[in-house]
Amino acid sequence: MQWETVIGLEIHTQLATKSKIFSGAPTDFGAVPNTRACAVDLGLPGVLPVLNEEAVTLAVRFGKAIEAEIAERSIFARKNYFYPDLPKGYQISQYELPVVGKGRVRILLDDGAIKEIGVTRAHLEEDAGKSLHEDFHGLTGIDLNRAGTPLLEIVSEPDMRSPEEAVAYARKIHRIVRWIGVSDGNMQEGSFRVDANVSVRPQGEAKLGTRTEIKNINSFRFLERAIRFEVERQIDVIEGGGQVVQETRLYDADQGETRSMRTKEEANDYRYFPDPDLLPLVIDADFIERATQVMPELPDARRRRFRDQYGLSDYDADLLTLSRELGDYYERVAQDTGDPKLAANWVNGELAAALNKAGLEIGASPVSAPMLAGLIKRIQDRTISGKLAKQVFEAIWNGEGDADAVIAARGLKQITDAGAIEAVIEDILATNPAQVEQYRGGKEKVFGFFVGQVMQATKGKANPQQVNALLKEKLRA
């Protein structure tokens, strides 16, 4: 039987505020345990939460970036469950009236098509603390520094049909939150965590199958693997005559599999109710205006502009808008060189590969935009060939100076002096009479041999077009 996969994602992204969502404790990462947990975060008796304006501003900005409606009035609710890293016995979240309503994002599929994924809602909530289970002789250590850190939980519609689409969607949300400065999106530090709801159904069936939820995935690679595993597992269960059980599962990256979380503790009955400690949050047009004043050109708009203004493919334009900084970089190179396509080839080609290999973000690139533009200009004015340019790029990357300095220091300037090239050609023809005879006898393939010889003799510096023209001329004689 043909099976269809249905995926929805819940993404928790940490908002880039200086202080917590309901208290004035700082949010800096990596502090000494419990030094960032104040009386409110600890849930001590008598304390009251006061909402952080910046957290609301960032949520609104995100909502606007995904074309969502912002709730004029939204409500905070208590989600009740017991766990030691949740000192109050409830998490303050939003349930019935979230701050961000229905929105959408677009993802670029492998075949070049663009697919729209619905966002059901996004709501504000507080993070819990951290439990450390090792080294305490049968006890658990609790660090509440993270308790009360503002999160935006972004819930998608079950619109994704493959692990690749799920990853593309998660990456797109990641791109957007970083782009508009809502979150640093640091996955190692847990600023961006993904839960995947996965189910399968026979192809053509309208009713959704029973889903499982894979919790707390903190890398895109694991997200893809976890879903892939889970889909296979569910199909095996059903084809083996069994039924998928609705449950929460964890992805074990070492084993490459998902495993059922113990269900004993998990009553999943959160008994939400409006938090009496917090009044309704009212967001008016002025607030939205202020929150979105600094909204930059968004990724999709920039992708379309790059495509239309610079004549790039959607694919290239998408790569160039992976981050705002990369887009800025590209645009600078494109404008400095006046050749947007060549600029795109270099940024998406050599530069992207080098960054990737070194594990660097564009902001940390040793080759700045003016430096790359300087290199491309030397290709444009034929000082160096495209092939040698790669060598020059590497030298710039390694800190040997800008393009002109490298070309001068390494003597890479292209030979465009026809007389000099002619002399080399004559020399080569004279030392290879047999090949000359073959060529003149009609074996035109030997031409490549001569080109190779000339390039070797000039260390690749001879202008290729000139070499071709002059060789033809000499061989005809």
């Binding site: 949010t27 910046e54 289970h133 305490f136 006890l139 609790i142 409006p274 009212v282």
Partner: protein
Amino acid sequence: MLLDRTDVEKIAQLARLAVSDPEKEGYAVDLSKILDLVEQMNGVNTDRVTPLAHPLDMVQRLRPDEPTEPDQRDLFQRIAPAIKEGLYLVPKVIE
């Protein structure tokens, strides 16, 4: 009666409350009465009533995003039953 003994046990378990056997019947009766009242209110026509999320007719005030809380860990940990290396220690929560 809307709630029976099993419901009371479930609610007590969710709230981590120890309820003795003799108490359970009494709670079942009391909680059912509360639900009866809710049921009675459900019968009222509320078409023209705006849903109420909070009894006060006020809106949430917002706080500027400034860290204002000093580190008072040592003070807070003085009342903790067990601490180690700055962490609060609790009975193990996973197998």
